[in-house]
Amino acid sequence: MTLGRTLWKVIFIKLFIIFGVIKFFFFPDFLQTTFSNDSERAAYVMDNMTHPPNMINSNLGGHKK
């Protein structure tokens, strides 16, 4: 039973940190919190797709440019 209690403690502390701290303070859903409806979200994403970024450091693959 000591093991069971320890595991429950680990589970509850972990869930509190993940949902109560990390999710709440550090991981807002960007599109959900920034825009009020799906049309605005779609327009924002489409804007990103049609105005692609000018990359400062685009060496993603690890090869020399």
Binding site: F27, L31, L60
Partner: protein
């Protein structure tokens, strides 16, 4: 609009995702493999009625429970990252991933959670057969729930059964069955689960070897090893077979990944497979440097692996970057030109719609549809950006294959000496056997590294590069959460190791 961005943010976001996925993947393969092993042990107990098998089952089930409890919900963090760091991607794939991930949630919650409770707390509350059924359902449920996330990952490697809707800026599922039965999804599921069976078996082998070296719980350790070695051997052989199939699928759908993990720059007929080698880090796509400082090559084997024909042509990185008309291969250079037309026409479609000009919108859409398969290439600035990191791809692939092959020999050796009845005297085998689980985890992680790093620069193969998939955040924000996760996961790992070590030292309950 994104404007100018420093891709160090993208790389930090990738590193953060890799960190969380890799920590999560320490717990998952052990759950997938050990669940079946517990079910086998309990089945033997129910069949024979021998209380020794009950003690043995309870011991391994306790370790399974510790891993399950500590690992649970570590994967949910990746979903947070989608919404925060990868907002564009998250929006675009929402329609595709919604169904599989919802099924995963239902399967995981109802099947695993319900029967998990019976498995752990129901020993004296339900009949033997009902308990055994619950254990089997936990094994089936955990593997089923893994199916859906693997289907989602396979779709990113080989997007099928969908169409891009320019009005909603998202990929929409047109055929559910094409998505879940895609050959890439099938090979990914079978390869991942079978290799996880081997990881579960290596866990049992490592701890049992420790007991044998300590001369404690000898009978239990030997019994545990026989079942685990048979299961691990079958899992390893199946992982080899399905891995071969996965490489074949790579050749069909992700030839750049295959060329990268073999360090093949110039395509050739009857291409040889590099069994082992040292990558030349000075090598670039279009120079004359040798790709390897040292290599051991098996002639013709790569052509068989890629095309099932010994004299067939396997394209190299240069063929895939610059094209090879003789072999009918379109290079990234040409794909970029077509992709840029797709992006331009998408912009023209949007502009025409805003101007309420249906004729222009219809023309732009028709043009876009002609080039939509190259959409992702339209965001690349140089064809070399289509090349993943060769050294990472090569070493992770070869580490996976070498360790995976070694595990077959390890399981055979354990089985051989178990059947001869003198396993406890083989210290030369038992000593390295204690670290086999760690090597199993490294092998499994290497498999994911080749799958994910090898498909760069794509979030969705050929359609969406990571540079467009991400959210416009500052690098500092992502760095902060990266180190938070590093601390959290390290703490969880230490907790798991401490709790598990304590239980292993205690051993099975007394008779």
């Amino acid at each position: 609009m994104i404007g100018n961005i420093d891709l160090s943010m993208v790389n930090w976001a990738r590193a953060q995702f890799a960190l969380t996925a890799m920590y999560h993947w320490i717990f998952v393969p052990l759950t997938l493999g050990l669940a079946w092993i517990c079910a086998f042990y309990e089945s033997i107990y129910v069949k024979t009625g021998n209380e020794e098998w009950l003690r043995l089952t309870k011991f391994w089930m306790k370790l399974f429970g510790i891993n399950f409890a500590i690992g649970i919900a570590t994967g949910i963090i990746m979903e947070f990252e989608f919404g925060t760091n990868w907002a564009n991607y998250s929006w675009m794939v929402g329609d595709i991933f919604g169904a599989p991930l919802a099924i995963e949630g239902i399967a995981a919650f109802f099947l695993e959670a319900t029967f998990f409770a019976v498995m752990f707390f129901g020993w004296d509350r339900v009949s033997k057969r009902f308990h055994l059924t619950s254990t089997w359902l936990v094994a089936i449920g955990s593997n089923l729930s893994a199916t859906w996330i693997l289907v989602a990952n396979a779709w990113m490697q080989h997007p099928v059964g969908m169409a891009f809707n320019p009005d909603k800026a998202r990929f929409e599922m047109h055929n559910f069955w094409d998505v879940i039965l895609s050959p890439v999804a099938v090979s990914k599921f079978t390869h991942t689960t079978s290799s996880s069976f081997a990881v579960g078996a290596l866990f049992v082998i490592s701890i049992s070897s420790y007991f044998l070296l300590q001369k404690r719980h000898l009978k239990m350790a030997k019994r545990s090893i026989v079942v685990a070695a048979i299961f691990g051997l079958l899992g390893s052989l199946m992982a080899g077979f399905t891995g071969d199939e996965a490489a074949y699928e790579n050749a069909l759908h992700q030839p750049m990944k295959l060329a990268a993990f073999e360090g093949l720059y110039h395509g050739e007929k009857g291409a040889g497979l590099v069994a082992a080698g040292i990558v030349n880090l000075r090598k670039d796509v279009d120079d004359d440097e040798d790709p390897f400082d040292l290599e051991i090559r098996i002639p013709g084997l790569l052509s068989i692996l890629a095309n099932r024909r010994p004299n067939s042509f396997v394209p190299g990185i240069n063929d895939l970057v610059y094209g090879n008309p003789k072999e009918g291969i379109m290079g990234a250079t040409e794909k970029i030109s077509k992709g840029k037309i797709a992006v331009q026409q998408l912009a023209a479609y949007k502009k025409a719609q805003k101007a309420d000009n249906p004729t222009a919108a219809s023309q732009a859409l028709a043009q876009f549809n002609q080039y939509k398969d190259f959409l992702g290439y339209g965001y690349l600035h140089s064809p070399k950006e289509a090349v993943p990191n060769v050294a990472i791809s090569f070493y992770s692939f070869h580490l996976m294959v070498i360790l995976g092959t070694m595990f077959i020999a390890v399981f055979l050796a354990y089985l051989f000496f178990s059947l001869r009845g003198n396993l406890e005297k083989q210290r030369w085998l038992l000593l390295p056997g204690t670290i086999m689980f760690v090597l199993g985890i490294i092998c499994s992680q290497a498999g994911w590294v080749i799958a994910e790093a090898g498909r760069q620069p794509w979030a969705i193969q050929g359609l969406l590069p990571v540079s467009v998939a991400r959210t416009n955040l500052t690098t500092g924000t992502v760095q902060t959460t990266f180190f938070m996760f590093l601390i959290l996961f390290t703490a969880l790992l230490i907790a798991e190791l401490r709790i598990m070590s304590k239980q292993i030292k205690l051993g099975p309950e007394d008779k």
